[in-house]
Symmetry: D3
Subunit: 337 residues, 6 copies
């Protein structure tokens, strides 16, 4: 069984239930989530040996976060306990024409204030085949940027495949800062996921994505992917495309560049139960596909399935087993008795 390690922040998510606004609610639904934790859970549900690394406070809230990871099969042997608090985000789920809102209360968290020397990558990476991280972790602090850099370097040195989801959080850092630091980090990344908005600079210091026309076609995407391949040695580049028909109805598609060709999935319209973590579900689907050496077209369809199905799962993480993805890939909509 292949072993995947992910590293990042896990937060307590507090959601107003039943599409209430926060100003209406007298209770919050509680789940624990974060980009890399979500990937870890999805991969564990797919049957991989999945391990998540972070730092959480040594109290009942921190324990609850670890418990949720364990519940869904993720190993947490290298989670550090300590610090002041678990980051929180409040989630007001939108509907129809009313957009969803996230209020972050993640400053000063145990993870955000952790130090790179707390992480022992020899132990963390023992036996690992794959390491995944996202663009959120280096955005949390200068220290965590260096932690990310150190983790990617350690992984590369040990011959572990690395992947990074380039998701950008404007609340955490400026676009310019993101672009500069992600360009630095990307060199140690084998598989690059989620390039829109792309925070990378080419060798001329130009934003690579600005080379895309307004409505890019496959060739346009391939062109900038070749730039990334050439400049950073990126082996695979995968991305999703989303059209907002409404807040709770989106059209989805996925692309995969395998270093040679660009593959495009079928598209699908989904009604949405929970939009959060869908990109992470896509990452997990892509990692699973590549670690199992699926054909590129199968890989992109499988990852689209993960991406799409997560929209129907409450909470941050994609809890579907492989069989659900396969059923989706057959577009099977009848009751499965």
């Amino acid at each position: 069984m292949k072993k995947v390690v992910t590293l990042g922040e896990i937060m307590l998510r507090l959601s107003a239930p039943n599409y209430q606004k926060i100003v209406q609610t007298q209770s919050f639904d509680a789940v624990y989530g974060g980009g890399e934790a979500n990937v870890a859970i999805s991969l564990a549900k797919f049957g991989l040996d999945s391990s998540f690394v972070t730092k959480v406070p040594d109290n009942a809230v921190g324990t609850s976060a670890i418990q949720q990871l364990n519940r869904f099969g993720v190993k947490t042997d290298h989670v550090i306990r300590g610090g002041e608090r678990l980051g929180i985000y409040f989630f007001e789920k939108g509907f129809s024409i009313r957009a969803s809102k996230v209020y972050y209360d993640r400053s000063y968290s145990s993870f955000a204030m952790s130090k790179r020397e707390e992480y022992d990558f020899d132990a963390i990476f023992a036996g690992a085949d794959w390491f995944h991280i996202s663009g959120i972790t280096p955005a949390l602090s200068e220290e965590l940027f260096f932690l990310t850099k150190k983790a990617l370097a350690a992984a590369k040195e040990k011959g572990i495949t690395t992947s990074c989801d380039l998701n950008y959080r404007s609340a955490l850092w400026s676009f310019a800062d993101a672009r500069k630091k992600m360009t630095d980090l990307i060199k140690d990344v084998d598989v690059c996921i989620g390039i829109e908005p792309l925070q990378l600079l080419d060798s001329n210091g130009q934003d690579i994505k600005e080379q895309l026309p307004e409505t890019p076609d496959l060739d346009d995407y391939k062109k900038i992917m070749l730039v990334m391949q050439r400049q950073f040695g990126t082996k695979y580049i995968a991305m999703t495309k989303r059209t907002h028909l409404s807040v709770n109805r989106n059209r989805l598609q996925a692309l995969l560049f395998d270093g040679h060709e660009i593959y495009q999935s079928s598209d699908v319209e989904v009604d949405i139960i929970d939009r959060v973590g869908t990109g992470d579900a896509f990452s997990a689907g892509m990692i699973y596909s590549l670690i199992n050496q699926f054909e590129p077209q199968t890989a992109v369809e499988f990852a689209l399935g993960c991406f799409a199905l997560k929209h129907t799962i409450e909470g941050d993480a994609n809890l579907v087993p492989i069989s659900d993805v396969e059923k989706f890939m057959q577009r099977s909509f009848a009751i499965d008795r």
Copy 2:
């Protein structure tokens, strides 16, 4: 007031609430349902004298099943108490592109293990005008196949109109077995409902439904209905047509063959709250129409309304009164103050 008797299994349905997967939930919504019980409830809500016959354990779970029937107006004077357990099914409601799942835990139930001699059809059928059963009951055991046979024969002998919903559960028996036994049973059925998948053999031992082209038109349907009429003496044949636009959006239509002509309802697209029991709601609508001698076109529109409205009702049974069906038949969508 016309009296209808139905006979079959009633199960405890345990559903993960709020579209959760079963692996997420910490509670289950509980209702009690089963094909023939659902028909009985719907007919009671329409004001008929409706009676349901089954066997349930003599404990609080069995009592709860009976109570639900009573709550919605069904008479349960002939329900037998005893045996080991009430059958259960776990229901994971799907959404959008994620299919619903049913996990059956119905083996060894009081009903499945009951004996035909426990049922006194003279008492059960006293004063009855109509008897309804489904293709699920004969699938539960060899004994219950003979119970079904005995019940239909007794009804016919007493001049009671009989109807049967041909629904097929692959978890319970093979298609070949189903086809053979249903072909045997159908001879005592006046009104045949739900012929897809059709489990009947013609006089040449050929599957009747295989005579349908891939995309049958009305004439094609009429042709096989005439075969059924000729071979089994079936008086009315009714069926629904469903197109899955998505898991929670279907297009619906209904057909009725009255022995002479085939009538087609208007079609309607529905958003779905609960897909289970919609066929039973259709059966009830058709029984109500025929028992009240509606014109065929009215009957098929009324039954379509029952069928469609059930998709908006949580639980197994169609709890709408006649007035709701009438409002639907006028396509009245504004608030009814």
Copy 3:
């Protein structure tokens, strides 16, 4: 800060949760609402000085109604305590093809049985810029018709702008009675909202709305608005247009006549969480626009936004802040982090 006063009935609304029918539920969600109260809450959420006047019983139920108004920022200094009961309405929320139902239990309420002399309009209107009322209040009793008349007259005398939502409740009075009395009241109304169904007579005693063709265009609407302007001195006339695609999906649009021209908003399709109070949200949006002297086209778009967004808010009142309306006006559907 502009001060708005509204006067009317506030009721306890008891809704069966989760789209259950009332015959299914074992609990009711409880909110307090009513046309003018809903307008007051929405305006308070927009930051205006908003005051609501009514009479509620001097018990915990009456206190709860007041508390909800206070919670969302509405002043209740002039609410009278006393009488027998708070009006109630039971709400069965429909879905897809099943219409919503309202069962009123509002007779004998403290407000419905209150006397005009209980209301001190000198105190109530102190410092007020705007007074809003609806066609429901005068329908509750002959006495309350005179109260409405007195209130409008007092407001006019004090130079306060007056608005009236012409909504018609067939459960409360006959169309003929409504038409006669509303025609009497309208003379003191500056801003007339919601003219369909129009309960007004022209100077020839003809129903003004009957002058509209079956599918009126903008010019047709303008024509009857000019009649109203001429006959009653109405300064602004605003209305909404709704098409029922299904019970929980409607297409919406709005019109505003500013005494010179008629302005039409863009249209929008909404999926619906709660249909009740959407007209009140529109009234509030229009009052806010006019009190802030928005350009007519901006006003009609802003009010459409209020109208549309309310469809996504559970409960009677529109709890969105200005920023939500602005986000809608940009058709921004992505998560707002």
Copy 4:
């Protein structure tokens, strides 16, 4: 199987859940209850043929009340549909040192405004062995006082045993009025239940209960019971004794006078889940005991068990089967596996 008929009002009870005050809650738990309805349900759970007579509105709320009766086995064939509304009471459950509160909103109910000629006692009493009513019904209106009188007279005439719970509601009538009218009614009552506060006058026009000393002993009770026997021909008199250790802990005991001797039950301390309807549970226990000709000491212990157990059942009605009462009578507190 013995048949019991009860007649009275059934109301919608709306309770703030989880010991919240009404001013805190955003939902209400809903059950349907009333003195005589509660007796009917308890007797149906004990296996008697139990029938309840009332009038409820012809809407979903009235239907829900009937459904609850049917769910627990009560026959409702003689319930009249019509009128304006179902009576409501709001219930704020107290705890420890905070008393429970009931806010009645029962005026103008279908039952309270019903006419005696709507009730056909020949049909209602067909096959009945016992008729039960309470002191609440005659308090609702002058008309209903006459209805009670008529019902008791009809029952007596048909040789049906009659019982009456003398409970007194100060919100409905004055003590003097109650005393006068109950003294009139009591003459047709065989079994008198719940004599504290006693609303009866002796032949000298003196309040019978005033003849009790402040802390009466058994002989004191016997003395006034003999007065009642002599004056009104009462055959059995049963009553409960309650000491409030706190709002949710009471000490309970019961007495039964069988026309000769007075029997006293053991006493028991109970922690309380729901205090409402405990007297009705006692009435049902006593009716069941007497209809089955239990020995007086067994009867008073059985009825105490019903009385005590109801304190542990949420809702108005005592849902325990006979086996629960028997287990209590053995003071069996261990888990029953």
Copy 5:
């Protein structure tokens, strides 16, 4: 109507429902509370003009805190909006022998990081009769100690009566630091509440409370109260006494020193629904008593009632009206219909 101002922190409290441990729950009940906010709400429910001053973030969570204050009648005109976050505390309610736990996550809150110059005491104290604060606020930061000092000085200068609850939070500061700073602040306090643990030094620099014997009697208390009177000019000193019979059953009593005599209330045993905020309820009861010039013995009984009743109210704040306190003072435990 007397006007009371309180100043302090309001936090979001997240409680695991139904006595679950935090590691069990999938949702949190949400209320907003804090010592001085709780006092303000209780006083508003008693009918006083009650105003609360704090700083909360300008987002939906901050708005929700304000809304809760408004809902229960507290004025929030002087609440400052801004800063990073609302303080949070997680609450795990204990039961029987399992103690309740509080996990604070209150660092870096908008209030804790606010500056004294943000508060305009001329505006805040306009028309005020009473100012209340607690020992928590000066513990939050050096800056807030000075804010407290400034507020008390301003109040004294304006002739406003001041009260302070000396509650001590060991999580926020050391006992030595608390003692030193509270001794400094107490000089401007007229009414001192909750002296155990007492954080005050006498003129010799000795801890005043150490002068109490292990099991102090009334005279012992009076002795140290006289020390406080002499040294700090304290006019009234009130305190509660609590014995833990178990986690959810306590025995309660109260004392009041009026500058001359010490008054002791009756004692009462309570079963507990929510232990949090009971001291604040006591403070509110005492402030209400003194502002209304109750006799000392009445005052201490009234305040005991507030203290005791709060144990039966879910949430931080005491939501009982005066009538509930009066009912308690009569030890009335029967249902109040």
Copy 6:
């Protein structure tokens, strides 16, 4: 870290919430529990390396059972997937004087129908220090009796300490059968827990427990424990004593015989949230004490703490950490902030 292995059945427990009777509820709270699984969870919460062995069906219900074990830290590497169903039990929680009820629906479960050869004890016991089982497993089938025997023998052979909880389920086997088979099994048990009702025969074929007087004192207990020591080589014998003050209030005590002396704990009265699994919590406390070589008196107090605290935890398993037990051992009842 010490490693403990337990083996047995885990069931889905379906509880009617809020002390409802099963006939009242429309939902069930769902947890997964069973004697040995509960022990495993408690030990994992205490920080031991805890592993549970069973067989569960390969569907979402079986997965959910495993997930709950993982969530609370239990390893499930040796859980077998397959068979037909997960055993279920319905739980109706009693209160005050109403006893709790359990309705088993556990026949035909995957575990009950598993075969001894499916279990590989070399793998299961690798690295284990302790093996625990209960008297329920051998009661499920003849095959599982042999499985138990084989497991105990294998553990003994590998030098692993063995413990057995002698709990007896009358629903599963006769007392005579239990006594005979448990006497056979006990020979391989080092630590015997829960000897009442004792199902063991002495060397004369006499029931050992019958040698106890009706109200045994410590010496009486010691006497029979010496018999067990002599006959079976039992090293430690631990037991609990429970007095039912009511259904939800019990007095608890514990005894431990260490082969030399008998030690008695203090006693404690507890109010009960959930009575199920308290014996398992005691077993876990005793195993933890002995594996950590606590002094006997400390061991019996620690195990009493586990036993008592479990009564306050909802669900089958004791979720308290060590710190909660220590707090209890200090009888600390105040809020822990």
